[in-house]
């Protein structure tokens, strides 16, 4: 395993863009560290890896990483990634999205990319709010919590990201938090190795807007809450449902073999070129 100093020199645009723009203590930087360690651990050449993001706080991530990167339009990161994967199937593609980017603006793209089961690794950093635009409620804001657009509490139910990807047909679905970053790194590695659509939900926090409005304290307090409020899937199965209220369940939800889109597409190309006989 490479040392942290080597990782910084190898994978970050360290001379141009640092320090990063994220708020002090933001979990997105922790996810970024997990991604570069996962890529390093798997021994990929960095010219084999492409990173694509949408808009939002997490959309800044490709700016800092020295892979092939694309910073695309809001919610359409998965669409750009689908096009890139079909054009260059040998690339390992990591798509980083926020919860609003993936599920509100890009919700349609999200369900259809999962349904197609195209070989991408999507990481949804879930901080339960739109952080960059000032704390509006997002599809994953828990019910009754405050947001700048919900001053009396959010009345909508929140979106279960992992369950959604599961029913849409993703090949690998896992959830972890930024506190359990080594576990998260392991899931990212498994997702990258998986042939098919891999979704990893990284539960993070926004202490600047969401945390301040709901009086959840500083980054340290919210990180401690992630530690205390999360249970593994094995433990969650034994707990009664009332104790599971408000808990984050970590673990691998789906790990299955599903026919992969680019391989099926290649077969169609071969069949068409041979005059439809094969």
């Amino acid at each position: 395993m490479a040392t942290q100093r080597q990782l910084i020199y190898d994978y970050l645009r360290h001379k141009k863009k640092f320090p990063n723009i994220w708020c002090a203590g933001c979990g997105i930087g922790i996810v970024m560290g997990a991604i570069i360690r996962a890529v390093d651990e798997l021994g990929y050449d960095k010219n084999q890896v492409a990173m694509i993001s949408g808009i939002g706080c997490s959309g800044r991530m490709p700016v800092y990483l020295d892979f092939y990167t694309m910073h695309t339009t809001h919610g359409r990161a998965l669409s750009f990634a689908t096009g890139l994967k079909l054009a260059r199937p040998e690339l390992k593609i990591i798509v980083v999205m926020g919860d609003g980017d993936a599920l509100a603006i890009g919700g349609n793209h999200f369900i259809h990319t999962a349904r197609r089961n195209i070989d991408l690794t999507a990481i949804v950093i879930n901080n339960a709010t739109y952080g960059m635009t000032g704390g509006q409620y997002s599809p994953t804001t828990p019910q009754h919590m405050l947001a700048t657009t919900a001053p009396y509490g959010n009345i909508e139910q929140d979106f279960p990201i992992c369950e959604l990807a599961q029913v849409c047909g993703a090949a690998f679905v896992a959830r972890s938090t930024v506190y359990h970053v080594e576990e998260l790194q392991g899931y990212i590695e498994q997702g990258l190795e998986k042939k098919g659509f891999a979704l990893i939900e990284a539960v993070s926090y926004c202490h600047t807007t969401y945390g301040r409005l709901n009086r959840l304290g500083s980054a340290v307090d919210m990180m401690r809450a992630l530690k205390e409020n999360s249970v593994t899937r094995q433990t969650a199965e034994k707990l009664p449902p009332e104790e599971l209220q408000g808990k984050i369940v970590r673990g691998i939800f789906v790990d299955r073999e599903v026919p992969e889109y680019t391989q099926l597409y290649q077969k169609i190309i071969e069949r068409a070129q041979s005059g439809g006989k094969a």
């Binding site: 395993m1 942290q4 100093r5 320090p19 994220w22 002090a24 790194q185 990180m223 401690r224």
Partner: protein, 105 residues
């Protein structure tokens, strides 16, 4: 010969500490120009190596306690902490260990 040398190193605990010296030791560096002073490392370091400095940045106050567990390195959102293993000590993460359901090579 080599095994004998290693056991000698372990026995050389500093006389002033009551706890046995950790088997792994780290050399901690904080880059103040990248650090934003979020305080995660100060709050969560399992050995309380850091203290809050006058400018809100962490100061490496008790480096002798560091076991090179890399908690601060993995959780620093600003890539501002580097922990280097003191020469001759074993790395924190051994191969064959399972992390997140995946066995390390």
């Amino acid at each position: 010969m080599q095994a004998g040398e290693e056991s000698q190193v372990v026995e050389e605990a500093p006389p002033e500490t009551t706890k046995p010296r950790p088997k792994r030791r780290g050399r901690v560096t904080v880059f103040d120009n990248w650090c934003k002073g979020c305080g995660l490392c100060v709050a969560f370091c399992p050995r309380k190596v850091f203290e809050l400095g006058p400018e809100g940045h962490p100061v490496v106050a008790h480096e002798e306690r560091c076991t090179a567990c890399n908690w601060c390195v993995y959780h620093c959102p600003d890539f501002a902490i580097v922990v280097e293993l003191v020469e001759g000590d074993e790395p924190a993460r051994k191969t064959g260990q399972s992390v997140g359901g995946r066995v390390r090579r």
